[in-house]
């Protein structure tokens, strides 16, 4: 009989072998039995980026932090997991997901004097279901060469003088969604719609990419101003040599609402309703607003700390003094759907 190459690999046998390996490997990843010195965090902030903070917490308290991160669906996961859910703490990077989580009934009220004392009233839920732990502002990246303005209002972005000069990412992205929702909360749907139409008419190109691409487009001359978050510019300027030219060609203007302040979004935190390690969860949440943690947050992530007396990172401070708008977060959250619908209606992304 002729020898046929590879006929010795019987797929079925191989498959069986692989299945056994797989089964063994799976058993090894089974959830560790609940231990006292642990806390489980579901986070929208990328696990790897927040790890240094959790390492510091573990060093301070001896409590190990287990992490899983995702970009969407964590509320739904916790809700579906039900009372067996291992989730203790949910960490978000915007108000939308906090709102979803509270609406889904997966949070529980926190009673903590420390938290109530540290976090300003506008940056937490009156009922104690969630607390803000840091802020970022949605601002303007302006071309150093082609833009002389030093102040601008969000309302002015719809002014025809900016025709063909503005770049922005998708109107459905959570950061823009929150900004547009704030506009709806301030001026009502009809005015917000007219504003959104005007902004759309001023766009230099169809919305796409992220905030970094927006800075790049301004630097490359595709447009003169772009809308982006505060920390992206700082990251490009301080940490990313490849993108330093994009930061160099632009400067940050802190815009305001007419007669108001700058639009900020929150990183928020809440304790899950069925948290198996509730005491540790509370310790973690309180630790996150401690001076040391807030300073780490400010320097690692280039965000604005919520705790008074913690220094803003120098690069972020160079934008000028931030005066956050006073519109309650709950009002912005309540307008999110309306904002999303307006984006569809005016064909913002098309």
């Amino acid at each position: 009989m002729m020898v046929r190459p590879l006929s010795s690999f019987r797929p079925l046998t191989l498959a069986r072998m692989l299945a056994t390996t797989g089964a063994l490997a799976l058993v090894s990843t089974l959830p560790a039995a609940a231990q006292s010195g642990e806390v489980n965090v579901y986070t929208y902030r990328e696990a790897k980026l927040i790890q240094p903070l959790f390492d510091a917490f573990a060093k301070d308290t001896g409590i190990k932090v287990n992490v899983v991160s995702a970009s969407s669906g964590l509320e739904q996961r916790i809700k579906t997991e039900g009372e067996n859910s291992p989730a203790d703490v949910l960490l978000t990077v915007d108000i939308g997901h906090i709102d979803e989580a509270v609406q889904a009934g997966i949070s529980q009220p926190i009673q903590s004097e420390t938290l109530d004392k540290t976090v300003p009233a506008g940056l937490r839920d009156p009922a104690g279901h969630w607390y803000g732990i840091s802020m970022r502002a949605r601002v303007i990246y302006a071309s150093k060469e082609r833009v002389k303005d030093s102040a601008i209002t969000y309302e002015e972005l719809a002014d025809p003088k900016w025709k063909g000069r503005i770049c922005i990412r998708s109107g459905q992205h959570i950061y823009n969604n929150a900004l547009f929702a704030a506009m709806v909360a301030k001026h009502g749907e009809a005015k917000a719609e007219a504003w959104l139409k005007g902004l759309r008419a001023n766009l230099a190109q169809k919305p796409s990419g992220g905030d970094r691409e927006t800075a790049r487009d301004v630097a490359a001359g595709k447009c003169d101003i772009g809308v982006g978050n505060t920390y992206y510019w700082a990251l490009m300027n301080d940490n990313e040599p490849d993108r330093k030219p994009w930061a160099d060609a632009t400067r940050v203007i802190l815009p305001t609402f007419a007669g108001g302040g700058t639009h900020v979004n929150l990183s928020g935190v809440l304790i899950a309703r069925h948290a198996p390690h509730k005491a540790n969860a509370l310790k973690l949440v309180e630790w996150l607003v401690s001076p040391a943690a807030q300073q780490m947050y400010a320097d690692m992530n280039y965000e604005y700390p919520v705790r008074a007396g913690v220094a803003v990172n120098p690069t972020v401070a160079s934008y000028g003094a931030l005066k956050p708008d006073t519109m309650p977060v709950s009002a912005i959250a309540a307008s999110r759907k309306a904002a999303a619908n307006l984006v569809d209606k005016v064909g913002f992304d098309n």
């Binding site: 797989g22 992490v67 899983v68 669906g73 579906t80 997991e81 998708s170 796409s208 990313e240 209606k345």
Partner: protein
């Protein structure tokens, strides 16, 4: 007499097992689909006028344009290059056989990021032009962040599905017919049009439908490039319009599109009426190209390899080079997780997929065929929707386990399945079993029905028949499926992201975290590892189908089967 009856019973037991496994697979795939449909059954009536007026027209337009465009790009590149390398000899041909499938190893969204990085203003291409004083030429560089850009990028990454499936038939099945046609004086393109293409149609249908489904499923690349597909709309409906029910309803529309695609694929397969001959498959005689024709063929094969593989990988390598390696330990752990999950998913899909194909073959009733069609729909669910749909059935099983444990005085077990890597593996199986069953069905289609009869006549047990007749003949198809599924599992992102247990990262989730922070180059090394791990099986596949074809050329397959029946008969009597 009693012996014969015993054998019969055993054989039907085997068939029953296969059919039962196939139905179980369909049920497994149906679970998340049913969960999604249940979600969709909740009213979201106030949302629909809005969706119909403002969202659906754009979503359907962009989706269809993307599907059509990607289909054309992939057909031209995939089938074109497959035809070139199997019909002609030209410089570097044997190298291209290996190189052309490689873009498969790149995750689509990584490729999208790289293309933007290279071709957008201030990118590598513009800088290079500026440095050489050719600034004017920059105006001719493509605008990557557009529908056309998305079509080109997705097409360039996905064409290997077609290359692989088309080449397999070009080089074996249709070779003799092509030769006959050539001897009768047909020109090469006439052979392609009248012989090779019609004969390769079932395989092309499989490859094309895989590409369409992958395209439908993509969210990372299309969203980044500013294309508003149905999948993107599902996400915004769920996240911003705050309606999971509405999102589920949109997902159902997408399932309908998938059902249509699957039916087209089935139809494509049926349309083939040249019955598999019992003749041995032979390798095609390749015609040697000379002069400009040879140069043209070499260039035509070089372009997709450069665009889909060499350029992105060089870019990643460059980025990885001038960055810190970072935490090598965690990189190794992530790789291990990726490989273990992908291998487990592949192994299970490799067992269940052929069961579906076998059930089709041995029990060709219509009701069964309809039920089994469900098994193909998992491929179409957007990963996140699949993950959400899968969670509730898994949690239900876990809750039952906990109840049982408590009833017997045992400890609370927690989420044994939903909270462990098992959830990810199950999601992989649900998504990719359609691939293994598709490949297996295409493979079975090439096995003449007489073989079934000769196995039956000898009274061989089902299992033995499987092992000694079908498996050797199916081997290339099964390996092809294994490789596609393995690489797909490695690249799979949304379901992995949402279902993974605490403290577990895979290569894909780790890259994604950098990318979602806007600095995907920091994940360049992890991306290179995915590519490297993906290359191994892809190269193996190219080699395997070569050696298999060569072996088949030497040893007459039907004779082997005859040999088998006679030796098996004598051994069992």
């Amino acid at each position: 007499m009693s012996i014969v009856r015993g054998r019969r019973r055993e054989r039907s037991w085997g068939i029953t097992t296969v059919v039962a496994l196939a139905l179980a697979t369909a049920a497994l795939v149906a679970a998340p689909v049913i969960a999604v449909v249940a979600l969709a059954a909740q009213p979201a009536t106030e949302l629909w006028p809005h969706l119909v007026a403002y969202v659906l027209p754009v979503a359907l337009r962009d989706t269809l344009a993307l599907l059509g465009g990607v289909g054309v790009v992939a057909l031209v590149i995939g089938v074109g290059t497959a035809w070139l390398v199997s019909s002609f000899d030209f410089p570097l041909r044997s190298l291209y056989v290996w190189l052309l499938p490689l873009p498969l190893a790149l995750p689509t969204y990584i490729c999208a990021y790289i293309y933007v990085e290279i071709f957008e203003p201030l990118g590598v291409a513009h800088m290079a032009l500026a440095r050489t004083g050719l600034d004017g030429a920059a105006a001719f560089l493509p605008n990557v962040r557009s529908l056309a850009g998305a079509i080109l990028i997705v097409g360039i990454v996905l064409y290997p599905y077609l290359f692989l499936s088309a080449r397999a038939t070009f080089q074996t099945q249709s070779a003799e017919f092509a030769e006959a046609a050539r001897m009768l004086g047909a020109r090469p393109w006439q052979v392609l049009r009248h012989v090779s293409w019609p004969m390769a149609r079932p395989a092309i249908a499989v490859g094309l439908s895989l590409i369409m489904l992958e395209t439908l499923n993509d969210i990372g690349a299309t969203e980044y490039l500013g294309v508003r597909t149905l999948t993107v709309s599902i996400f915004t409906t769920w996240l911003n319009r705050g309606s999971l029910a509405g999102a589920a309803q949109l997902a159902c529309i997408m399932l309908l599109m998938v059902a249509v695609l699957v039916m087209i694929e089935q139809y494509g397969r049926r349309a083939r009426n040249v019955a598999a001959s019992a003749e041995s498959p032979r390798l095609a005689e390749r015609r040697r190209l000379r002069g400009s024709a040879a140069a043209g063929a070499t260039l035509a094969c070089a372009l997709p390899v450069m665009a889909g593989f060499v350029m992105p990988v060089l870019f990643l390598a460059g980025e990885a080079w001038h960055r810190n390696i970072g935490d090598l330990g965690s990189l190794m752990r992530d790789s291990a997780h990726s490989v273990v999950y992908a291998l487990s998913g592949t192994a299970i899909a490799l067992i269940l997929g052929p069961c579906i194909a076998l059930a089709h073959r041995w029990r060709p009733q219509r009701w069964l065929a309809h039920l089994l069609m469900i098994a193909g729909t998992g491929y179409a669910l957007p990963g996140t929707v699949l993950a959400l749909g899968l969670l509730s059935p898994l949690v239900a099983v876990d809750e039952a386990l906990n109840a049982v444990s408590r009833a017997f005085g045992g400890p609370a077990l927690g989420l044994v399945i939903a909270g462990s890597g098992a959830a990810i593996v199950i999601a992989y199986v649900i998504r990719f079993v359609a691939v293994t069953s598709g490949f297996a069905q295409a493979g079975f289609a090439r096995i003449p029905h007489e073989y079934d009869d000769s196995v039956r006549i000898t009274g061989a047990r089902t299992q033995a028949g499987l092992r000694r007749v079908y498996l050797p003949l199916l081997e290339p198809s099964i390996w092809g499926a294994a490789i596609v599924v393995f690489v797909d599992c490695l690249k799979e992102l949304p379901a992995t992201l949402l279902l993974r247990p605490l403290n577990v990262e895979t290569l894909a989730t780790s890259i994604y975290q950098y990318a979602s922070r806007g600095s995907f180059e920091d994940g360049a090394l992890a991306a290179l590892i995915i590519v490297a791990v993906g290359i191994v099986p892809v190269v193996l596949l190219a080699r395997l189908s070569d050696s298999h074809a060569r072996a088949a050329d030497k040893e007459e397959a039907p004779q082997a089967a005859t040999k088998f029946s006679s030796s098996y008969a004598s051994a069992t009597v």
